[in-house]
Symmetry: C2
């Protein structure tokens, strides 16, 4: 503990509202009122109370308050990883939208596993959030049950779950990847490869892969060459290794689509290191439009997703539901935009 502690509070005790009340010569209830914006307290009293608060270094105990008022003042958001700028943008969108609502964000990450997600959801629900934002639509049965009986609004994001729990703000990863394939096919590419992770842990990755396969079929192109490499989320390094493997096995591949910009970036850099020209020898495209995609050399063709907007809109829906402005539209699904960004690499 800070050494100053004992000097400040002789009994080694954090002051309570009652301490403040006594010092200001009022009741605890009046202190409580003085500390909220809508409290009706005379100016003189409020001043005395705020002075006492300052002298004691008092900080409201919100956990006690929320037990009484049955409002905890926070919402939970669960993302796969904080080390991914797409999800960080979503988190930022949520935070921005929450600003000035008095709600705080409690953030957790799952490392892309449903088990961690389940544990995290339970840990969050124990603290009684007023709403919860999830990434993706795949959850364990137990997680679904807990969410359904929690009595709070739930928003699933980043995908279009076949069986939504409650509300949805997202887009079809399958369609987005298919759009990328069609766009590149129109540019003349015919021999497509796909680089992604090995397991289905990353459901959005699986959906993108499915969209790739579907689009290739629909266009009547030669079957796509699928490389699975590494446990999702696959890294920059793994992207480089994967593209090497792809070129060894199928040297005539014309364009490699990657599950994310990070792996695409790794692939591009590894090719440059080996003197393989991009896009002449092989074209490469990513997914997500991370900041590096626009500034690496060559710049990266990719699919831009409205990450920030997903967060903003998810938070907005949640706030509406919490405030009861729901109008029974809770099952409405909000589609967010995506678009192919054509740059130098493909």
């Amino acid at each position: 503990m800070p050494k100053e502690l004992n000097a400040k509070s002789p009994e080694n005790q954090v002051p309570t509202m009652l301490d403040v009340a006594r010092r200001a010569g009022v009741s605890a209830m009046t202190v409580s009122r003085a500390l909220k914006k809508d409290g009706r307290v005379s100016d003189a009293t409020r001043e005395r109370i705020l002075a006492a608060v300052n002298e004691l270094g008092y900080v409201l105990d919100q956990s006690a308050g929320s037990l009484s008022s049955r409002k905890t003042g926070f919402v939970a958001a669960i993302i796969p990883s904080i080390n991914n700028s797409n999800f960080a943008d979503t988190a930022r969108g949520i935070t921005d939208e929450l600003e000035n609502t008095g709600l705080q964000l409690l953030l957790g990450y799952t490392d892309y596993t449903a088990e961690k997600e389940e544990k995290l959801i339970e840990a969050m629900l124990r603290r009684r959030p007023e709403g919860i934002i999830l990434t993706g639509g795949t959850h364990t049965d137990h997680a679904r049950r807990m969410l359904e009986s929690a009595g709070i609004p739930v928003v699933e994001t980043w995908e279009l779950p076949p069986k939504p729990i409650d509300q949805v703000v997202g887009f079809s990863n399958e369609e987005a990847m298919a759009l990328l394939v069609r766009t590149l096919a129109r540019k003349g590419y015919r021999k497509f490869g796909y680089i992604g992770g090995t397991t289905s842990r990353d459901t959005r990755g699986s959906q993108r892969r499915a969209g790739f396969v579907k689009a290739i079929e629909e266009l009547g192109l030669p079957p796509g060459r699928l490389v699975s490499f590494g446990v999702p989320p696959i890294s920059i390094e793994q992207g480089g290794q994967a593209v090497v493997g792809m070129l060894e096995r199928w040297p005539d591949t014309e364009v490699a689509l990657c599950v994310s910009d990070l792996s695409a970036f790794g692939a591009v850099m590894e090719c440059k290191r080996r003197g393989i020209r991009i896009p002449q020898d092989i074209a490469i495209a990513g997914f997500g439009d991370f900041e590096i995609a626009a500034y690496c050399h060559p710049t990266l063709t990719t699919v831009n997703v409205d990450c920030y907007g997903i967060g903003k809109q998810a938070a907005r829906k949640l706030i509406q539901s919490i405030k009861g402005e729901d109008n029974g539209l809770s099952q409405e699904i909000i589609l967010t935009s995506y678009r192919v960004v054509e740059r130098e690499s493909a």
Copy 2:
């Protein structure tokens, strides 16, 4: 709310421990005991209770529990940005160390401003964390006062604050940057430039810059060329713009050191785009050893910092203090390691 809600709980009410107790035919206290690992309850009773929990979809209300037990079961950590893989690594270190302690992490970010930090600290303290981890040693007076009277252990990280609040886990950013300068001077570089942000919002950035200036002076080299560009944290794009500005003003610059790997990466890519050879025409070095540093082309010379270890050790200290294994060593300062990683760019 999920539509299934009404089907599950007719009164639209989340069940409490008492509901579970009644259903299992025991008292609330026995339910409480059955739900914690160390609770002493007969197997038969526990089974009945767990069945009731399942049927009702009951989830413990931790905010009520912590009011009673005076333990909230979480620690707070405040980082400048979640969109920075260095701090994300620190967060991961904290989470990993917290695993199996029963403590949860509540994460917040300040966008590098002391005002947001102050608001965030107050918001966190309201929820009564059992400990708090901060980034950096610069805080508003009010923030310091709140932390000092909160009665919980505090760990400041990533720097060596001149006036620590409590405990410290970090390193000297000044010394680390000076080490980079000395290392490169030994390789023969003499005309040094420095690229960083414009304001002092990023205290670690300012310290690195100071270390740069100091080392140049001590080595008796020509005065360093300082470019300030953009509000911290400076982006990839701004790194590229800054290096262009530097070369316009001081075309003979031999090596540019950047406040972080992101700006260094931007500088490298912009040079490649312009046909400026690295490191022959200009050498570039970064700071932080982000993943891209090792895999971009050319690979980036940088300073590796033990981000993950900072998080691990900060959490470990915190846990010790919380458990009271403090031994009065609370003022001990833990130094974490850093080292120059020489790669292709300088």
